[in-house]
């Protein structure tokens, strides 16, 4: 082998750094809070991977790892009840399963104790919903499935997700219909009520003025 061991080890350590960078990232202030909304059917798994990096003013870049920093992850369900509210380390993943269909809000902010905005933070974030959240390599290993069996399992999971989403769609459409019918009712009652109020007020006005003028002996 013409590679000497040292250069090979260096190459491997470089590659291992490369393999663990997440995809999308964005910047937030240290005290800032960033929220994402996931509209999902019930009984759906959502997995989020994140990595937090602190701005390093000395190099002008971002420090590769900041062990002291933590990330507060808060997840609320459609009824605004917190499902998950924990502080994780600066790199990690969180998972939750929805029990009610609707809009779940996932909020991320660092557990920095500064009062006003400190330095910038770079947050690598990746979120996978439903069958995208399943790690098929893991499943294949645990249950010892052949390629075709794994593919069938994937298709089953996809179809399951489609069925759940269709069911959620039916629920949403029902809510939409109820809202429209409620608006219809409200407009109807309001217009009837308005006519009555106008008649009553007109009647009261005339009666009040008549008695006023009679008292003043002008009528």
């Amino acid at each position: 082998m013409f590679f000497n061991r040292r250069s090979l080890l260096l190459f491997i350590s470089f590659l291992s750094v490369l393999s663990f960078t997440h995809g999308l990232y964005f910047h937030i202030g240290e005290t800032e809070r960033k929220c994402f909304i996931e509209e999902i059917p019930d009984d759906t798994i959502v997995t989020g991977n994140y990595k937090l990096q602190l701005f390093d003013p000395r190099t002008g870049g971002f420090m590769p790892s900041s062990p002291g920093l933590g990330m507060h992850v808060e997840i609320r369900d459609p009824d605004d009840k917190p499902i998950l509210s924990r502080v994780y380390s600066s790199e990690g993943r969180f998972t939750f399963t929805s029990h009610t269909p609707g809009e779940h809000v996932i909020c991320l902010y660092s557990n920095s104790t500064k009062w006003f905005s400190g330095s910038q933070l770079r947050v690598h974030f990746d979120i996978q919903v439903g069958e995208h959240a399943i790690d098929y390599a893991n499943v294949a290993q645990k249950e010892k499935l052949t390629e075709l069996q794994l593919r069938v399992r994937q298709l089953l999971d996809q179809v399951d997700q489609i069925a759940k989403e269709q069911n959620y769609q039916r629920y949403r459409e029902e809510r939409f219909r109820q809202t429209s019918e409620s608006t219809n009712q409200r407009v109807l009652w309001w217009s009837i009520g308005q006519v009555f109020i106008l008649m009553i007020m007109g009647f009261w006005q005339m009666r009040h003025l008549k008695s006023f003028f009679e008292a003043k002996k002008l009528v």
């Binding site: 393999s19 995809g23 964005f26 979120i127 298709l155 989403e165 949403r172």
Partner: protein, 209 residues
Amino acid sequence: MLNMEKRLVGLAFLLVWSAVINVTCGVELTFELPDNAKECFYEDIEKGTESSLEFQVVTGGHYDVDVILEGPSRQILYREIKQQYGQFQFTPEHSGTYQVCFSNEFSTFSHKLIYVDFQVGDEPQLPGVGEHFTAMTQMESSSQKIHEDLNSVIDYQTHHRLREAQGRKRAEDLNERVLFWAMGETLGILVIAVGQVMILKNFFADKKK
């Protein structure tokens, strides 16, 4: 020692493979863009990786947002002003950091809910698929086809959900507004009726003096 070096080369090969695989990823996000704000998302893309960007404004104001997609040397690849929905596919010619920015700076008080879908590379294959060098059997290729079709069904469902969410939120907004308007107008009528009578009585009271 030769064995150890063989193992190291094997590990290096595996890491190169996983590094290549890890370059392919995609994320769908829905976030709220406050008024007068600009939000940017960054992604490091290798050259030659087919990527696509899709966005849709779900609720807020006139359902429009400004989008700019910039490459590593700040060149503008895609730009839309006040659009409700857009899709753009591109294959980057240079590796680097690509950024997509959404701007709501033209709006003074409506915050917008925006859905973004940023896909980089193809979907990661199932482990084991594509690793052997024989042609796929009929069963394997038809199951692959089914998988791709189901992917597009899920995609259509997402689009349907976004469109439906728009209509539904509008309807809920309208419902609330009708209630407030009805209550406000009733109050207004009562105040005006009583006020008219008071003022009229006032006119006549002065004359008597």
